[in-house]
């Protein structure tokens, strides 16, 4: 039986780093980064919003890769990574979808617009929802893993197509001011705070991923023990339990 000690050790180490960098990011957001001239104080939500979006899409990439690996090798570890990543992806997509409108209400004067990046993120969230609905709705866990992997792969192929399609609508979302080919257009403090945010959220994501992975493996182990226990028990007692 695989030992989860190493996984946990890494999870704790990454958590410490993540906690430190998240605190540093929050300090930079409120005390270091200057207030943006046109949008004002509400612009500071951007340092949470953009790194969350990055992590949400990174998670989906991991789901897709692990799904391909799972269908190929049928290794439950890969499925456990995929589930962990999908769950975190859902959480971070939700953060993006909550912080975006908070900012949009002030900057655009409306909570929601049908704009390419918003639409893409919303659809990503729905694909994640379908992923968990599928896993919960199958008769055997093995089938759930296979079906979820199929959705993970087809979803990953479809996401770029959705991106291309929704770009057909005129874009109202602010264009990148930091990550753009001709170099950052924003003040250096803004760039540094955003980069710190990327680092912090990525570390946080991987720390949570390891914890969730360990949990999923433990859950599978407990389930296996329970099934073995049921099989060992004499028929009469298990019927007694059922009655």
């Amino acid at each position: 039986m695989e030992s989860l000690k190493g996984t946990l050790r890494w999870a704790y180490a990454l958590s410490a780093l993540a906690a430190a960098s998240v605190l540093a990011t929050f300090w930079m957001i409120f005390f270091y980064a200057p207030t943006e001239r046109e949008m004002g104080i509400v612009q500071r939500i951007y340092y949470v919003h953009v790194p969350s979006a990055w992590v949400a899409f990174l998670a989906f990439g991991i789901v897709a890769l692990c799904s391909v690996g799972y269908l190929w090798l049928r290794d439950d570890k890969l499925d456990a990574v995929a589930v962990a990543a999908a769950e975190l992806g859902t959480v971070f997509t939700t953060i993006v979808l909550l912080t975006g409108p908070l900012w949009g209400r002030i900057a655009w004067g409306t909570w929601w617009v049908w704009e390419p990046r918003l639409t893409l993120t919303l659809l990503l969230w729905f694909i994640y929802v379908g992923y968990f609905m599928l896993r919960g709705a199958t008769e055997t866990p093995e089938r759930g893993k296979r079906f979820a992997a199929v959705l993970g792969i087809v979803g990953a192929v479809d996401i770029p197509l959705i991106h291309v399609s929704v770009n057909w609508f005129r874009s109202q979302h602010p264009q990148p001011v930091v990550l753009r080919p001709e170099g950052p257009a924003a003040a250096p403090e803004i760039v540094q705070t955003l980069l710190m945010g990327f680092l912090a959220f990525t570390l946080l994501f991987f720390a949570l991923l390891l914890f969730r992975y360990g949990l999923e493996r433990l859950r599978a182990r407990a389930e296996a023990l329970r099934v073995r226990d049921e099989l060992d028990r004499p028929l009469s007692t298990s019927q007694g339990v059922l009655r």
Binding site: T119, L134, R143, F147, V150, I153, D158, S165, V166, W168
Partner: protein, 225 residues
């Protein structure tokens, strides 16, 4: 290659013969589609010019009616354990997928042959000048719709929720097809020249090719056991 296509054709013919005898999917989907058109006509302000948004209504109707029909695509195989028989037969899984897809596409095209004239009649639309371009858009969009639809119909049929879960899985993935089908149809409806929908046709074709590559490959993992 000839053997592969022969197998796919045999599967498609089996489904279409069953459908021709029972006509249940076609009748249910087409009736539902007409009823959606009726509901639209009562829920819209009669002073609006339907021509300027009929493309959206038509495709919403087609997608809903198509999903309704797809739900039955694997139901019969599941109810009578016929899928096990199909899987035991020496048929390639890719050919099985393409056969089911071809039958689903044929049924959807039949439903669309009802939907478009009904909308033309109810909302006073004129497709006359753009029939060729419209046929191409319908064919390409329906192909993409049914490639994804057949795959997830197979997935949904093997879940406890059955066909109820199908729209939830399928609709987010269908957005690219919907966007280009609606905008193309809409442009032709308001009398734009065919050249203006060239981009739509190319995008729909590209989506179809991508789905045609990926769906049969992963279908094998759906129906195994």
């Amino acid at each position: 290659m000839g053997r592969f296509l022969g197998q796919a054709l045999a599967v498609a013919r089996k489904d279409l013969v069953l459908e021709l005898r029972s006509r249940e999917r076609l009748v249910v989907s087409a009736t539902f589609a007409v009823l959606v058109a009726v509901v639209f006509s009562f829920s819209l302000d009669p002073t609006l010019r339907a021509r300027s948004f009929a493309g959206a209504m038509i495709w919403v109707t087609v997608i809903f009616a198509g999903i309704l029909g797809l739900g039955r695509s694997f139901a019969m195989e599941r109810e009578q354990e016929a899928l096990s028989g199909l899987l035991l037969a020496p048929v390639d899984r890719g050919a099985l997928f393409l056969g089911k897809f071809a039958a689903n596409l044929a049924i959807l095209l039949a439903v669309e042959l009802v939907v478009f004239p009904v909308y033309a009649l109810f909302f006073g639309l004129d497709f006359g000048g753009a029939l060729g371009g419209l046929a191409l858009i319908v064919l390409l969009a329906s192909t993409g719709f049914m490639l994804l639809g057949t795959l997830f119909a197979a997935v949904a049929a093997h879940t406890r929720l059955g066909e109820t879960v199908l729209p939830v899985l399928l609709l987010p993935l269908l957005i690219p097809v919907v966007i280009f089908a609606v905008s193309g149809t809409q442009r032709l409806l308001v009398g734009r020249p065919l050249e203006e929908v060239g981009g739509n046709l190319r995008m729909l074709l590209a989506f179809d090719l991508i789905y045609l590559f990926i769906c049969p490959v992963v279908f094998g993992s759906v129906v195994e056991e």
